[in-house]
Structure formats: structure tokens, C-alpha cells
């Protein structure tokens, strides 16, 4: 008997499909700029009534070489992480190569009420923390009916 499948048996393609389906089932209508998990740097976003706080987990990078831009309510963090791996030669063997290297860029759409002039970025212990103030506190307000 002959074993046949309709599709090539590509495990990676199957995993990609599974991941897309999972992502879609978690968030049905995501932002048009997406917010893809698993990219570099990993990112946590949180809000307080006064500010938007972002943590970007980008270890081992010279902070002067990270570009943080805020334009029209879109925050972009870009930079490059150079490889530390030795050039391949007879003397060394690379057993595991899991850390990210190369250029990176992450883009986030911020809420409408952020103040583009009140941004603070700080790099510590390999984490870039960006804090953006919001213009008016988003406190609930009672509206009287006339």
C-alpha cells in the first residue's frame, strides 16, 4: 500500500497555522498594527489613570543606540543587538544559539489621550521602561440630563 497525503507534511507550517488560529481565537479584532507575541523585545504594556507604562525586555544593548520615537500616537522602539557568537572555526563549537541577534523594531498604538511632550525612557537591568503621561485623568464623570 502507498502512503499519501494531500499536503506536504511540514510540521513548522502546521505549528504556524495552529498559532494563527489560537491568536485569532484569543482576540477576534486586534489592532491593525497587531501586537505579535514572541517578537524581540518582549513587551508588557499597562495603564494607570495618569500614564501609559511600557516595559521592553531588551537585555545586553547599549542604551544610547536604542531609538524611541513617538509620532501621531504611535510609539516605535528600534535598535540592533550584535551577535556575540565567535566566527566559525575549528577551535569552537556553538551548541545552543537561542538569543536574539540583529535589528529589531516594535510599534505600538497608544491611547488617544497621551501627551507626546511628556515621555520618559529609562534603561535598567536590560529592560527599557517608557512612561507616557496622559493629558486628562480618565476619571468617570457624571453627566446631568437636561
Amino acid at each position: 500500500m502507498f502512503y499519501r497525503t494531500y499536503f506536504p507534511r511540514d510540521l513548522h507550517a502546521d505549528f504556524d497555522r495552529l498559532q494563527r488560529e489560537l491568536a485569532q481565537s484569543l482576540e477576534w479584532a486586534p489592532s491593525i498594527r497587531g501586537l505579535v507575541r514572541g517578537g524581540f523585545p518582549a513587551m508588557n504594556v499597562g495603564t494607570t489613570p495618569q500614564s501609559v507604562e511600557l516595559d521592553l525586555f531588551a537585555p545586553g544593548i547599549d542604551p544610547t543606540k536604542i531609538e524611541v520615537n513617538l509620532e501621531k500616537g504611535v510609539l516605535t522602539v528600534a535598535g540592533e543587538r550584535p551577535s556575540i557568537l565567535p566566527k566559525p572555526d575549528a577551535g569552537t563549537t556553538v551548541h545552543l544559539d537561542q538569543r536574539f541577534t540583529g535589528r529589531f523594531r516594535r510599534v505600538v498604538t497608544l491611547p488617544d489621550d497621551v501627551d507626546p511632550n511628556a515621555v520618559e525612557a529609562r534603561y535598567r537591568d536590560g529592560v527599557l521602561h517608557v512612561s507616557i503621561q496622559r493629558r486628562a485623568p480618565a476619571t468617570p464623570r457624571r453627566i446631568t440630563i437636561q
Binding site: 531588551a58 556553538v94 551548541h95 545552543l96 538569543r99 536590560g126
Partner: protein, 127 residues
Amino acid sequence: MSDTTTIPEANARSGHPEGALLPPVDVIEDASGITMYADLPGVKKDAISLKVEADTLTIEGEISLTNKEGLESTHAEVSLPRYLRVFTLSKELDPEKVSAEFNEGVLKLRIPKAAHAQPRRIEVKVH
């Protein structure tokens, strides 16, 4: 050296049943030993724990972030406050001489090979 991080077992061992993140590592071997780089962003230098017991190397780190009061998380990719990774060292490595550096969230470990495991030329005797 081999990676033996099986999460449930490692969590039970470390006493944190809720889980931990698996940090990415680079492992490079040369003639005199092994160099390992591990990404542990958000960990302060004194919150890293490195343990060598028999032939097991355990790397652990607690993440501490300065969170503002009233912070409501809207998107979290780093959702656990801890890193954990376990490796089994092979016999030729010298666990007594492990040295470590930590810089901007990157841990660098150097594990030299024991003197008897260094490459050497073997002399052939003629009777």
C-alpha cells in the same frame, strides 16, 4: 552539557509551583571550557541564584520591575516573575571554577574544563 529543564520537575525543586520563564541561552565550547550567555532582563544582580549541585547547574532569577500604583496590565508577554533553567554538566567540566558576570540583563558564565580533560598530547613509549 545538556539542557534538562523539565518545567514541572524544576518548579517542584525550586518551590515555585506557579512556573517560570525559560531564558534563551547561547552555549559556546572551546578547547579550555564552555561559555554560556543567558538573557535575564529585569533581574537585579543580587536576585540571581546560581547553583551547582553534583553535576546540575541551576540558573534562577527573580524579575523586579518598578510598577506604578494602580497599574492595570493590558498586554503582557513576560507574565511570570521568575526565570529558571537547569543544565546537566558533563564530567570533564570543573564545577568548582565556574565564574559569572552580569551586565544589563545578560548573564555570562564560564565553566572551564578540568585539568585532566584539557587536550594533551599522549606520548607513545617504545620499549
